[in-house]
Point group: C2
């Protein structure tokens, strides 16, 4: 068994890690949100930059960013008049690399 719940047998499984992981996957499992994450990558980007790179309404992006923040996928801080967003956990970027390997056939 792939151990998202290390050192447990099926019937004794702690659900905790499953739940954390599935919440994060759910948060990332929306095309706009995934695109937001791709666009941010290792950078710190102001919301309006994300809006223009991703391409939908500012309000819509703002709400998706909020979801990513709630789910602790990204963080943001104010700098002057702008809010800068970045991916919170380097492991998330790792995860995205794994997705790239999985879903991006080599040209």
């Amino acid at each position: 068994m792939v151990k998202l719940m290390p050192d447990t047998k099926p019937y004794e499984m702690k659900e905790e890690n499953i739940n954390k992981a599935s919440k994060a996957l759910k948060a990332m499992g929306h095309p706009l949100r995934l695109k937001i994450l791709c666009v941010i990558g290792e950078q710190e980007l102001p919301v309006m930059d994300i809006v223009s790179k991703v391409g939908t309404t500012q309000s819509n992006i703002s709400q998706h960013i909020d979801i990513l923040r709630e789910k602790e996928i990204i963080t943001s801080r104010r700098e002057g008049s702008k809010i800068l967003c970045k991916v919170r956990d380097p492991n998330i970027l790792k995860l995205m690399e794994a997705m790239q390997a999985t879903f991006c056939p080599v040209n």
Copy 2:
């Protein structure tokens, strides 16, 4: 930028890979479905085994398995009276290992 869409600039981005990836993430982003995947791992398992290991109704599991099949995360084949399910793409298991690294703090 993390390249889920290799060799493209933001405005020229093909959406294709983003869409594939987000569909898969969405499919995996439900606790029961993630648990199903963990339980199957590298094995081939009959539905009833999954039911008993995951622990909800047969009907519910069947429907989630169906979703995983539609989204091409798992495949299944009949052997005698049983339907055996397995994870379709080894890359999905890789992805799950990456999730494990991300979401399972070491004990």
